[in-house]
């Protein structure tokens, strides 16, 4: 999933020898007092707390100044904190691995980006994100296409009947027809899913598909009150196509795919 984009101007990298005073930032929420979320932070259950500025708060934990690899362990820790915070708050998620050198630097972030954060928090209020990946079984889809498409069926029969004499050209043509029919089928499934989920979501975003079996890799922004309706709709569609398609449905997530604040960040020296 993509997160907020941080533009880092070109500055030579500093030596990364940490003093342990850094702050790992998970998300920004609206809260006018400090708050302790317990020892659930990244890097071995660090205490998660807030750094406040007016009615905004950055949810952070202490960290040495290091670069965090996006290992599953680290990513899960980052996500777990955001999930915990999300139970009570609307949040703006920070990119994985965002480390500030000091509490003061975080305060400067809140202060200088106050208006943008406030606007986005208002827009994202009571909204959550769901991820939906759809994979298909190529063989089964091809089989169903050959069953339903007259032209393809005829051509295939012809090739099988005259196996010896069937031309390279006929085979090529068959391959091309199947390819086109598959693309059309894929588009049709995807359009159907989007159409079905339109009324129970606020927005959607399609990301690049992963691997050759995936036909949809999308994120949906959903009102909290519609969570159940969205859920039921997804189950309904996945049942309808269970023979051909595999649905991978995840969430609720913070609105990773729908928040795009360009933060003017630079490497701290």
């Amino acid at each position: 999933m993509s997160e907020m984009e941080t533009s880092t101007p070109q500055t030579p990298a500093p030596a990364l020898t940490g003093s342990g005073e850094g702050k790992y930032v998970y998300c920004i929420i609206r809260l006018d007092r400090s708050r302790d979320f317990g020892e659930i932070g990244i890097g071995g259950r660090a205490r998660v707390f807030t750094i406040n500025h007016n009615d905004l708060a950055a949810v952070v934990s202490d960290t040495p100044i290091v670069i965090y690899d996006p290992t599953r362990e680290n990513v899960l820790a980052h996500e777990f904190v955001n999930e915990t915070v999300m139970r009570e708050f609307t949040l703006i998620p920070m990119s994985f691995g965002t480390v500030f050198r000091s509490e003061k630097d975080v305060a400067v972030l809140l202060k200088s980006t106050y208006q943008a954060f406030t606007d986005v928090l208002e827009k994202m209020r009571d909204k959550i994100e769901f991820g939906l990946k759809i994979l298909w079984d190529r063989d089964k889809v091809v089989a169903s296409i050959e069953r339903d498409n007259d032209e393809i069926r005829r051509l295939k029969d012809e090739i099988t009947r005259n196996a010896a004499s069937s031309t390279y050209f006929a085979r090529m043509q068959l391959g091309r027809l199947v390819e086109a029919a598959m693309e059309e089928a894929s588009n049709r499934y995807v359009a159907h899913v989007h159409d079905q989920l339109k009324d129970v979501s606020v927005a959607s975003r399609s990301n690049k598909v992963i691997g050759d079996r995936m036909i949809l890799n999308a994120a949906f922004l959903v009102e909290r009150k519609d969570e159940r309706a969205f859920d039921e709709k997804v189950k309904e569609i996945s049942l309808k196509f269970e023979d051909l398609l595999t649905f991978k449905y995840t969430g609720p997530w913070p609105p990773y795919n729908f928040v795009n604040i360009k933060l003017k960040l630079e490497k701290a020296t």
Partner: protein, 100 residues
Amino acid sequence: MGLLTNILLAPFLGPVWGTQWTLEKVDRVVREQLTDDTPIKEDLMALHLQLEMGEIDDAEYVRREAGIMERLREVREWRERFGMSTGGGPVRVADGDEEE
């Protein structure tokens, strides 16, 4: 940079200016490959999908993840060497202008 060395040591194939042009192009391609973490991130997502689909187990995931992290670190080092921006590491709000 094995590729560059191969080109440099290759038998003479054309006029000198041609070689010069090729070198610059190769240098650019090599540099792009060394500093682009997109394919590595795609591999990581594909690996994660395999785990989600139950095609590999946790142990296998962790084993292959280690290789991917190693490649990410290498790209990060090259980016730093070329003075390009890198994800991760301490950041702060840029000096000078206010937000947006």
